[in-house]
Amino acid sequence: MRKVSMLVLVVVVALGVLTLGAGVVNYAMLSGVTTLNIWSMLGPNATAWNFYPGLVKYGSLYGQSDLTYQVVPNLADGFWTPLKKVTENGKTLYVTTVKLLKGVKWSDGTPFTADDVVFSYEVPFKLGMPGNWKSALDPTVFDKIVKVDNYTVKIYIHKPSGKFIFGVLMSTIVQKKYWEPIYEKALKTKDPSKYMMSYGPVLNEPSIGAFTLPKWQKGAFLEAKAVPNYTFKGQEEIEYANGAIRYVIPKLNKDDTYYGKAEGKIDHKFVTGPYVDSIVYKIYQNQSAAVSALLKGTVGFILNPNGMQKGFVAQLKTNPNIKIVSNPSLGFRYIAFNMRRYPMSDRAFRVAVAYLVDRNMLCNKILQGVAIPLSTVVPPGNKFWYDPNIKPYGAGMTTIQRYEAAIKVLKDAGYTWLVPPKIKNGHLVQRGMGLIAPDGKLIKQIKMMAPSAGYDPMRATAALWIEKWANDIGIPIVADLTSFNNIVSAVWSENFNFDIYMLGWGITIYPDYIRDFFYSKNAGPGGFNTPGYDNPEFDKVADEFVDQTNMDKAREYAFKAEEILNKDVPYVVLFTSPMLEAYRTDKIEFAYTKALDGIQSGYSGYGETSLVKAVEYAK
């Protein structure tokens, strides 16, 4: 028996060594893939784990450039024509014409035409596919799509909106030839969209991307295979310092430059691959296992939307072949005030709390650098949309200066104390007690709900410190460390039953969430505007922002909105976590490692899969 098992071991190891090297990169994933069916993946099963391997096959008319996140044509030929107002059957609509690239082929050799585009827009829209489909092809924006000729489509929308660009024009495109027979069958069933979503596992579905996904061993691994005749192979993406982006596609004889002139300093230049024969996504069910596999060299990189904790980094640093990169993640943790209740409804009160939150102390000293201070709803890493002129309350102050500023704001607004806080020679010598509102009433205990250490030690810690800082100057905030579920149900299910709560958002590059989170009409039950922020000026600016289809103009409004929010503080943004990632330099080579939300961001929609290279195993 022992001999047999030894024999098996030898064979297994030998086979393992053979598969290494030959243009294969191995990734570790921390959770299984639940579906590869695009209808379901962009519907109820929208998980990062499904996206990593699942989205390699599909395309869209427009996309975003690597690293600079500018809107650029993908399968479209140049930009869309300006929106024109038309009236059809008494309805006012706006129409645009989009030209498609000629000569693009699916992996099975079928040419890509307007039929694919029309099919990919009409099916999910007509069937009312749930989830991301509905967000992308929002019925309040999208009306219909019409084929003009094989390489031209007309898109009709109800109103100009940013959603038109970031939703409608970026909606996913599938192959009509493959899906049409399935769609016809689906139409005969009781629930066509369910039929479409459960069809699968679609391993033979043709791809318009750099890879097909022919193998899926459930619960163990997936394999993506490079498309040999990939149309965009050899495409050069050149990003200039002046903001211009030039695309050279040799196979299609195209050379276009957008956003300015192709001149001056070049920031980045990417040449599209694929450079590997296949990508293997190995599924490990916990981070320790994936880290062990990385140490052993079984995988070259760990795909994880949340990054790594510092203990793993300490372990990985011991291996000279492993490189660790840190990037800010795309998201923020915040506290929200319930502006339907007093004193959170008072701007002075909120400003005082905002002054007290010493992010620098919290992130760098208390949390030992496992959090990155962040004070705005748009992080600085989102270069295009970040407003550099915003100055948050208390920026650059020490803790004691913050105490003084907060006390001053409260005093100026007419608050008094039973025992006022006293600061002498840069030290707090007397904690404030019994804060009294300008109307003479004692302010009762204010409950701040925050996740417990079991869910997120960082937020639990932050909550306890905010409680301490507030209590030091007499604001009676009590941190209530509770389960994530409890916070969510208090906020959304129990009709905003909270004083202050602390949670986090994962966000997108195009910041239309600014409007979603603070728009007065979203303050109803279940809405995103949890603080109940109601500012007509903000609403107007936010509307202007999302209705713009010219991004430069949209940015002006976004900045205005960001400034209003910074002044009114319905949220105090606290910090974001760094994306710590590690990869093996002897196995894998990335085109870029400095990116907002880390290397992994390139794997759910941007270009990294077609840029990654395998380091040859030869010695």
Binding site: S288, V291, L295, D472
Partner: protein, 329 residues
Amino acid sequence: MANTTEGMTASSEIFESPFKIKVKLMWRAFKENWRIFSESKIGMLGLWIVIIFAVAGFVVYPILASTIWKSTSLNAMVSYNPVTGYDFTIANNPAPPSLAHLLGTDPLGRDILAQLLYSTPREFALGIIAALITVFLGTLIGTVSAFYGGVVDTFFMRLADLVLLFPFIPFLIVISGMMQVNLLTLALIIGLLSGFGGITIILRSQAMIVKVKPFIESAKVSGASDPYIIVNHIIPNIMPLSFLYMMFNVTGAIFSEAVLSFFGLLNIRMSWGLMIYTADTAGYIVGTNIGTYWWLWLPPGMAITLICGAFYFIGRGLDEVVNPRLRRR
């Protein structure tokens, strides 16, 4: 009981009161049982471990927290709190054991020894509350079912069957994943689950044996009421067995808490399981980190094993007291 107290006031001057006799008898029985128990090496080992933990948690911790550790507290006016007690003087956390922190610090810079001791009374409370609920329910239901039989019996036995259907740990995971569970609710849930479950079946069969003994019959003939017989005759006779199971339940409760905490499912501020969870999610129990950062997982891991083992050992010692047949001749 009313009779005995009356008797005591009337005749305590002349005779030794029945109450005193009872106490004396109990004392004698206790001494005899203690002798048997103390002969069991394993039982004594368990007892000593429990005593050491109890002293450390209930006596040593409060003293240390309000003296030595106080300086590193979040606000220096109250005693040290191992949930918020970050030590800013240490540049790199987790720090290895040093004079300031005998068992080092955790990834957030909190004292491991303090966390360990702070959790001890809570673990005791959890285990003992859960076990008390279990044994109380089990004993009551077991005796009542055995005594009355019929519908009552069928109902509780089928209920026990139903409860036994739930896989214990997975079921607790489901519960704690969907509602907010803290130590007290956990103790309640574990107590109720085991109280209505297997233990009733075991205690019922024991009560069945007692029920047919002649002294029950004579008590009935002498006109004792049913509750009186249950409380005064049956329960005392199955008490030792209940007590034995109580020891095993303490172990079960503490272990369940550790497992649930390990998956981050409980809403508690500090416990041994949570200490391991913190070390694990921060990535200190992987590869050679296991050896390098031993102080993060070894103390709480040892504590869980020692306490669980100790209560089991006590149970084994009690077993010798309860089951005379097991005693060496």
